[in-house]
């Protein structure tokens, strides 16, 4: 099963350019037409489940607006230095 992830899109930075949306391999993103950022843009958000936390959206975001998280599946894996 694919990893489960989630993202946060910052209202301060997002300009609704849609680059993340078109890049997301899981097609789980869209502009949130019901909200406006303080600058007046419709920000991106995930509108359905399926985010894998692959961070591709963050890689393409020109405004470093996205923070990506992933559920930790293996806990307590010892970290080798």
């Amino acid at each position: 099963m694919a990893a489960k992830g989630w993202i946060e899109v910052s209202d301060t930075y997002c300009k609704g350019c849609e680059l993340c949306i078109s890049a997301c391999p899981q097609d789980v993103m869209e502009l949130n037409m019901s909200r406006l950022t303080p600058k007046g843009y419709h920000p991106a958000h995930t509108f359905k489940d399926g985010c894998t936390g692959c961070a591709i959206c963050a890689v393409v975001c020109p405004d470093a607006a996205i923070t990506v998280y992933r559920e930790i599946t293996k806990v307590n894996t010892p970290v080798t230095a």
Partner: protein
């Protein structure tokens, strides 16, 4: 939503300030900025870096990086960077320049900084036009491309041919590292970042002049959506400006990142 730190996959680099950029939505100037910030942070050189901003859309670059910055006259960033680096050789100095800045008015300065092998890193944003002044033709504008100063499409007979800057500079011995990358998709963005990293490593190791040319978009002046702009890069810019490694000196080939 509680988010244990180790759940974090990606977050805004710390080398960035908190100022939102003034770039148009979807403009890949922002991507280039982010990559530079990530590299500075990863290499742990934020503290000793001095940036040189151009005149162009990136004129306010100095607002976004958490490093000392100076702002050069249009095209003269390589000369200004030379002045900084020569008196502070242990600092990391980079210029960030557009194609109008670097390839039009600043041609003399970039060629000579490269020929002298100045230990500088140049981030060169090729977006095929003068973004800031409203989209005039740049030396890198594609043949036939319409801009506000080539309104019927660039006519190579009277308006000249595009300059392939990376190819040209690679003829100079002082150049250690010179490559062209693109910012149009995640894979290429990752390759671009690696190149930026190598360029800064080149500088840190004193291996000469390094430059990364980045194919970038200008949705506003190209009159396209950001998404279509990326397609334009892929379909039209890359054929005209092939991606590749134009010069990597032997010493730099050894660098493992």
């Amino acid at each position: 939503m509680t988010t244990p730190a180790n759940n974090l996959v990606y977050e805004r680099p710390e080398a960035f300030t908190e100022t939102p950029t003034h770039y148009c939505p979807g403009c890949t100037h922002g991507v280039a900025h982010r990559l530079v910030a990530e590299v500075l942070e990863e290499m742990n050189i934020t503290d000793k870096t001095i940036g040189v901003a151009p005149v162009g859309c990136a004129v306010f670059a100095y607002n976004y990086f958490d490093v000392d910055f100076v702002e050069a006259p249009h095209g003269r960033a390589p000369a200004m960077a030379t002045g900084v680096k020569r008196v502070l050789p242990d600092r990391v100095v980079f210029t960030y320049q557009g194609d109008g800045d670097l390839a039009s008015i600043g041609m003399g300065e970039i060629v000579h900084a490269a020929a002298r092998g100045e230990n500088l890193t140049v981030i060169f944003i090729n977006n095929a036009n003068f973004g800031m002044t409203g989209g005039q033709m740049a030396p890198t504008t594609l043949p036939g491309m319409k801009t506000s100063s080539s309104q019927n499409g660039r006519d190579v007979e009277t308006q000249g041919y595009p300059i392939k800057v990376s190819e040209m500079l690679s003829t100079l011995e002082g150049v250690g590292y010179c490559v062209r990358r693109s910012l149009h998709d995640p894979k290429n963005i990752r390759l671009a970042k690696k190149a930026i990293r190598t360029a800064f490593e080149t500088q840190v190791r004193g291996l000469g002049f390094s430059m990364v040319e980045l194919l970038s978009t200008c949705p506003t002046n190209w009159g396209m959506t950001p998404v279509n702009s990326l397609k334009f890069v892929e379909e039209h810019m890359i054929p005209a400006y092939p991606l590749g490694d134009y010069k990597i000196s032997d010493a730099i080939k050894q660098i493992k990142i």
